[in-house]
Symmetry: C2
Subunit: 117 residues, 2 copies
């Protein structure tokens, strides 16, 4: 849709796919989905890797534009950005979803609040 953005975004796609390739990183996204705006320290809880490892993952996610950060005093808050995932879903994954169109039909009905299901 955007005139220039597409070229740049397609380059970004690779970063996003690579960012999603690691289970720890997906887990971090999951956690931020559950509670947005967590600090590095909070995101470390329960993960069995070191703080620095988590920091690296977060930096990579940030580089892929999957999250944005905001400093608050000495704490760095991490906020989820679902847009790149969304874009991949729309532009790339959707392409493979002839099958999904059926699911969408069902979803359409659900969105309509269709009582017949």
């Amino acid at each position: 849709m955007q005139p220039n953005g597409c070229i740049i975004q397609c380059m970004d796609d690779d970063a996003v796919f690579k960012a999603l390739a690691d289970p720890h990183r997906r887990q971090l996204l999951d956690r931020l989905f559950d509670r947005n705006g967590q600090t590095l320290g909070e995101l470390c809880h329960g993960l069995e890797i070191s703080r620095q490892a988590v920091a690296k993952h977060l930096a990579l996610l940030e580089a892929a534009n999957l999250l944005s950060c905001q400093w608050q005093g000495r704490e760095k808050l991490h906020y989820l950005n679902p847009v790149p995932i969304n874009q991949i879903a729309e532009r790339w994954i959707g392409k493979f979803d002839q099958h999904r169109l059926r699911a969408l039909s069902a979803l359409k009905q659900a969105l309509e609040g269709d009582p017949h299901g």
Copy 2:
């Protein structure tokens, strides 16, 4: 939701995400999307890597259940399987798409047989 399938599928998710992480592999899927059932040799055309490298990528995609193969004489035909991508989209990516719900509303209209679409 599925009683047993979920556990297995979640393990598969990682393989699928990893499989999608490489641009060459995504390109191969794109090519199979354009024309299904290609041989290894055909899939090599235009790629600047060796046949063996392509074969490795295809093996990885097959392991991730993203494509299925069928021998025909001395040729191995490769067929796209969009289901795992679909499942990821449904189960994981969809979760992050509060935003996408708006897009779905638009799509819903398109599916309704919008004459302008």
